[in-house]
Symmetry: C2
């Protein structure tokens, strides 16, 4: 409680821009131990065995599905098997969305099937109509009111490969905002070029959410080659398609955040939080999204245990990230009053590519401690990249309430080849990269646990989302 | 008729190993004209426009489907549009096989869907059983009689990438012979790792044929990642799966070989035959297999026309290659008595990768003429590769009756990533490679048409297939 009070005071200083926080430093012995453990982690297969187990034995685990329930049991058992000191679950309740079937086809003289998949949150329905193609979301939004009455909007934007996945703001933006925009113009359905960078017949699903007052319409993503094809056909002349989706919301479901702890040997009430999300989309086995994050962080705790870290290492396998950060929000609600006890947090939810960058919310307040961590991360090929990171997904809600965060940035060049599609399977994971990921998490997590001082976690009112 | 008699005599010499055929040579003016046309072809987009048109406007064209019928109409119209002098069709009748639906799943504690596709020729049926894994066809064949009673055979052989696609003899062999072998041991179904080299959730279909007396059983190919997954699950313990196929033979269908000719200006009765096959499997749009071959050879005739070739250039878009060379066999039956009129033939049915090699059945009898052709092919990066080529697919039946052939070998390194699966779409064609393919065909076809003398076509009794 003393510590919490201290952080509150420090937070006030930080909020006014005065860097008055006590300088955190990491004991030399911890740096040495972290370097040894880093090298051990590079040769360790705990992460690989964990991701193999989850993706093979559970497979797909759409939130609310039977796979979701099995994943929860799997995570509890795996935490115990890996020697975690405490294992428990916390309920997460959300609307259950189900996918039953989906078909698309071109009608008329050029009739042929289209590989498409319903967007999460889409209602079911079978409609036929002429396609109206838009190069991007802005073009759809600029369409005259009522101009899409009886028609099917097609947003045909191609994401580009980026190391930081930056183009997802466009692809994800279309998926999130396109259906409502199309509905507002009178469209009877919405299709989009998948938010992806591959060239395979595996459409990328993902959540959409209809704006207040927008009439939900069947909404789907075409595979990249199918979007190419539809664009060519539309260029030849008026093109009618059929979109037949059997899917929709079906009551509520309660899943679980599954939590494992390595209890701190000296400051058990202070937590270094790491994790990934346990749910996946249904087409693949969720290897990169996000069995990787679950495996990397579960392995991190297991590898750290013999060192008896000073602070508690808490690993969370979050429920239902995919459909709206349900697990992360439930966690933030439950621990809102414990922000200061969360010394710092990092989530792995961007695949298992080589980790190349490090950043933290503490970049201005605690540069020395971060520099010390970087010393041990650097041999892994990781650079200090201030202001290039962000808290990933599920830890976001609690960072909005003041929790400090770190970012261990994965190379995402190929991430959107696989994101939310059927190709997200174990064979896409490079065991060497995964071991490097675990090594990076081990270094960060251990040093955060041993640091003499904190990283700026202090309660604040969450910002209003826009 | 004089010429036919001559060839008969020459064939007799060739058969006894005596190289007594008159030496064929190609006029210097033709070599010069071929070089000019080669370079023009490299900058020409007739091939690209043709493949784009077929794959976009028709799309998939499974033999016997509505797409097949549309493809026939497309080919007739395209030949005419490209300025061919004669265009006609010849009927090809075959048993019609239809695919309605297909599902696979793992049952029990690790339940999850499996991406699989029925093999062409498979009967329908829904069965559940324990998987018995075999590393290859020989292992299945060595299983004790009756040992698979009530079980599902799984042949888990992984093809390797080869420039010449050589590993297909294993993958294709499993597809052809595996179902009968499994049935003979009592299996209730057969599944195989797709005969492919990709890593995507797109299973590779293709024809199987049950041996005389073998009870047909539902037979399917798993995608490569699904085969990985099933192998891992089977290694964990007894694994039951469900295979549900709705497919099978449904009467007969008559499609058409579609033929276009550029009539020879000097020897119209002598034919240089080139072609590809018009049908495709149903999952993709058959871009590499074999819209490419159709487009390359259609473009070749169109580009040659202004040169008024001495011999007739005959381009055949063969019907139903995929289900057993039906078009090629019908052609051979119809033209059995005209072998000698077919001066030489080449088919393009191995995608649209860079053509890297040239070979011919005339390698021993007409080395000089082939050397001349090689002079003009060589700047395209093509090597003389004696005894490395074969007549491709549909021209095979007539070469067995004595027709001379040439081989313009495509680099097939990536061919089995796409072969017979949903990913076989236009975006996989490199327009520059396609133009190189057309350039190579233009050179070969023109020089064969201008050659002073033949390449050894002479009727012989076809060898008995084993």
């Amino acid at each position: 409680m003393r510590r919490t009070a201290l952080f509150l005071v420090l937070a006030a200083f930080t909020a006014t821009g005065i860097a008055a926080e006590r300088s955190t430093s990491i004991p030399a012995s911890a740096l040495t131990a972290a370097a040894t453990l880093r090298d051990k982690a590079l040769a360790d297969d705990t992460g690989w065995k964990t991701i193999e187990s989850l993706t093979t034995e559970v497979g797909p685990r759409l939130a609310g599905s039977e796979g979701d329930a099995r994943a929860v049991e799997w995570a509890k058992a795996k935490f115990r098997q890996l020697g975690y000191d405490k294992v428990w679950t916390e309920p997460v309740t959300f609307p259950k969305w189900v996918r039953r079937s989906e078909h698309g086809e071109v009608l008329g003289a050029h009739s042929q099937k289209l590989a498409l998949t319903a967007l999460g949150g889409s209602p079911g329905g079978t409609v036929e109509g002429e396609v109206v193609r838009f190069p991007d979301l802005a073009a759809l939004q600029a369409a005259p009111a009522g101009s899409l009455a009886g028609k099917i909007a097609f947003v045909d934007f191609q994401m580009q490969r980026k190391k930081d996945g930056g183009d997802y703001r466009f692809g994800g933006g279309i998926r999130g905002g396109g259906p409502s925009a199309a509905s507002a113009k009178g469209a009877i359905a919405f299709v989009m070029r998948s938010a992806g960078t591959d060239s395979h017949r595996v459409p990328h699903t993902g959540m959409t959410r209809f704006a207040d007052g927008a009439k939900p319409i069947p909404s789907a993503a075409l595979s990249i080659p199918d979007a190419d094809q539809l664009a060519r056909l539309a260029a030849l002349g008026a093109t009618r398609i059929r979109v037949a989706l059997d899917c929709g919301f079906d009551g509520e479901y309660t899943s679980q955040n599954v939590i494992g702890e390595i209890t701190g040997s000296k400051r058990p009430d202070e937590v270094v939080l790491i994790g990934g999300h346990l749910d996946s989309w249904d087409h693949g086995t969720g290897a990169i999204d996000d069995a990787a994050g679950v495996a990397i962080t579960m392995a991190t705790g297991a590898l750290l245990k013999p060192l008896k870290p000073a602070r508690t290492i808490r690993v969370v396998a979050f429920a239902n990230e995919e459909q709206g950060l349900w697990g992360g929000r439930a966690y933030a609600d439950k621990y809102a009053k414990d922000v200061a006890k969360h010394v710092i947090a990092a989530e792995s939810d961007f695949g298992a590519g080589h980790i190349y960058g490090f950043d933290s919310s503490a970049r201005d307040a605690q540069p020395e401690a971060l520099k010390q961590i970087m010393q041990v991360l650097s041999p892994l090929g990781i650079e200090w990249l201030p202001k290039q990171g962000d808290p990933e997904s599920d830890i976001g809600p609690l960072t909005q309430r003041g929790m400090a965060w770190a970012w261990l940035g994965h190379d995402g060049t190929n991430y959107f080849d696989l994101h939310h599609n059927a190709d997200d399977t174990l064979d896409k994971i490079d065991p060497k990269d995964l071991a490097q990921n675990v090594a990076a998490y081990v270094v960060f997590t251990y040093l955060a646990a041993q640091a003499d001082g904190g990283f700026g976690s202090a309660p604040k009112a969450p910002e209003t989302k826009n």
